[in-house]
């Protein structure tokens, strides 16, 4: 309703009525997160209340029906699987992005993008089923039992590869042309321009994308549940079966009651805190590199 007061610079024009509802809607989104946290905490309370927080770290093994609630092995397994997957997917994704941005002939770029987008759109349970029926038997012939941390890392890497590649590609695309032209004018060869100018200039957004992919890998459930073996133990070897926090919830939730159920909510709480910490880290990295 600008016609009543033409100056859009004024802080007091009639659009002001829009601000409170918008603020309310924004607050709802934030509030939901707080509610989720509060809910997780209240549901996990019966376990926390008994022997305190420390039991999740001090108890040996996860046997909730026998009163043992050690979450630490699953925490390590979640981290190992996610970071293993990122270790595989990040270089591959970044290489793909650099290739499509600077080296690939145009007729390859478009199909490549479409393939990546399709890969990103496949439901995780499909990856899991393929892993269970194809990948696990294949690896079992080489390193039984086949369902292992390694298999989980492979499946997860495949799933987050498109995320890394697509975010890196858009990060590289948004590097100002003037930087690249300047580098070219200084006589840098193409490799020098790419690795010395473009990638460092885009590193904030690239890292942000990688952290986003890490969060997805941490939160992935079905695919990992089907291929990781789900034995609760510290990930001591690549070919040992492990259980991640998300799979723990999915495996046992529909059958759990009482303290057992509360223990599963505690796994959910721990996972949420882990992802929040990651998101905070991502925000910090992106901000710092932005102003550098």
């Amino acid at each position: 309703m600008i016609w009543s007061k033409p100056s859009s610079l004024s802080r007091w024009h009639d659009d002001r009525w829009l601000a409170p509802p918008l603020a309310l809607l924004a607050a709802v989104a934030a509030l939901i997160l707080l509610l989720v946290l509060a809910f997780l905490l209240s549901e996990a309370w019966p376990v926390v209340n008994g022997d305190g927080w420390w039991r999740f770290f001090s108890n040996e093994g996860w046997y909730p029906l026998e009163g043992r609630f050690g979450l630490l092995p699953m925490l390590w397994a979640s981290l190992a699987a996610a970071f293993g997957a990122v270790l595989l997917a990040a270089p591959l994704g970044l290489a793909g992005a650099i290739f499509t941005r600077f080296y690939a002939p145009p007729f390859i770029v478009k199909p490549f993008r479409i393939v990546l987008a399709l890969l990103a759109g496949i439901p995780s349970v499909v990856y899991g089923l393929w892993g269970l029926t194809v990948l696990v038997p294949l690896i079992a012939r080489w390193q039984p039992p086949g369902a292992s941390l390694f298999t989980a890392i492979l499946i997860l890497a495949l799933m987050i590869l498109p995320t890394v590649a697509l975010t890196s590609a858009s990060a590289l695309n948004s590097v100002p042309r003037s930087l690249l032209h300047g580098a070219a004018a200084l006589g840098l060869i193409r490799t020098g321009i790419v690795l010395g100018v473009a990638v460092p200039a885009a590193r904030g957004a690239i890292l942000g994308g990688i952290l986003l992919a890490t969060a997805r890998a941490l939160g992935e459930t079905m695919a990992v549940l089907m291929v990781a073996g789900n034995v609760v133990q510290n990930p001591t070897g690549l070919f040992e079966p492990v259980r991640v926090l998300t799979a723990n919830i999915a495996l046992e939730m529909s059958y759990a009651t009482g303290v057992h159920r509360a223990g599963l909510f505690a796994s959910g709480l721990m996972l949420t805190l882990l992802v929040l910490a990651l998101a905070w880290l991502a925000a910090r990295i992106v901000r710092r590199t932005h102003y550098a």
């Binding site: 093994g61 996860w62 046997y63 909730p64 029906l65 026998e66 043992r68 269970l132 029926t133 696990v136 038997p137 079992a140 039984p144 039992p145 086949g146 369902a147 549940l225 089907m226 073996g229 789900n230 034995v231 609760v232 079966p241 259980r243 999915a250 495996l251 046992e252 529909s254 059958y255 759990a256 009651t257 009482g258 057992h260």
Partner: protein, 273 residues
């Protein structure tokens, strides 16, 4: 809207909610909760029951045998579902068996081992036997497939072999029967345990698994029905008191031979009548 319109709208909403609540409380609705093993069967029986008794609604929610027992006791559900016999501390409740289910030990069909004794199975699951050649098979490490905590199949298995879950040294932990069958089908050195009905069906469909006999009794649906197979369990509907009214009619229906085809379609074993 004017204030008067607001008030009218509010009254309408309250009225609708009131009707909905009244419908919920009506006597023609039956709530069943519990064992995810029984839930699909109960759902089918419920559908047929609804068709025969117009106006009746049967609401089935799965959530594990423990939940079925707890909900039946607390009155949250009219009927609980438990895929096991009641425990001694649950004898304040009444169990009504509607079908039998057997848990069978499965191997990959490429495994030359033809039978295992209870003692051998126990030794394999506790990690005392780690190689197939110790029980007459090939020289290969055994992959032990166990179920995740809370599943009634696991409970039955542990109970039969007098084990605690923490004593089992598993290589793979699975959720449902199909995941277990796929794991053993894809791994020639794996051993697992699943519902016999599901395993027999999958084996007949050509899935490369085989069911081992236990204590000399073949793991077949027929032997589970007779109660001869050692590792079998009843599928129970649980009520707090002697059932009456709608609940009684439903339980009588579920125990009658009018649902035999539904029981068999879920790979369970109808009662011997």
């Amino acid at each position: 809207m004017k204030p008067s319109q607001w008030v009218r709208a509010l009254i309408t909403v309250i009225g609708l909610v009131g009707i909905a609540v009244a419908a919920q409380a009506a006597d023609d609705k039956l709530v069943l909760t519990g064992s995810s093993t029984i839930a699909p069967l109960a759902l089918e029986i419920g559908k047929r029951f609804e068709k025969l008794n117009p106006g009746v609604r049967v609401d089935v929610q799965s959530g594990g045998s423990s939940r079925g027992v707890a909900d039946a006791r607390s009155g949250l559900a009219d009927i609980g579902m438990a895929s096991r016999a009641l425990k001694p501390e649950e004898n304040d409740l009444m169990a009504h068996t509607i079908a039998m289910d057997g848990v069978g030990v499965i191997l990959n069909s490429g495994n030359p081992v033809q039978a295992l004794s209870d003692e051998q199975i126990k030794a394999i699951y506790t990690g005392r036997i780690r190689n197939w050649k110790e029980v007459g098979g090939n020289d290969a490490r055994i992959t032990v497939v166990n179920k995740a905590e809370g599943h009634s199949t696991l409970e039955l298995f542990l109970h039969h072999f007098a084990l605690k879950n923490s004593e089992i040294k598993a290589d793979v932990v699975i959720g449902d029967n199909e995941q277990g069958i796929k794991t053993v089908a894809g791994n020639p050195v794996a051993i697992g345990y699943v519902s016999i009905g599901t395993a027999e069906f999958d084996a007949a469909q050509g899935t490369p698994i085989k069911l081992l006999p236990m204590a000399g009794v073949a793991a077949t649906v027929a032997n589970v029905r007779d109660g001869r197979f050692p590792l079998s369990r009843p599928l129970n509907l649980v009520t707090k008191d002697t059932p009456s009214g709608l609940a009684k009619r439903f339980i009588d229906f579920a125990r009658s031979d009018k649902v035999n085809d539904l029981v068999e379609a879920q790979f369970f074993v109808p009662l011997a009548r």
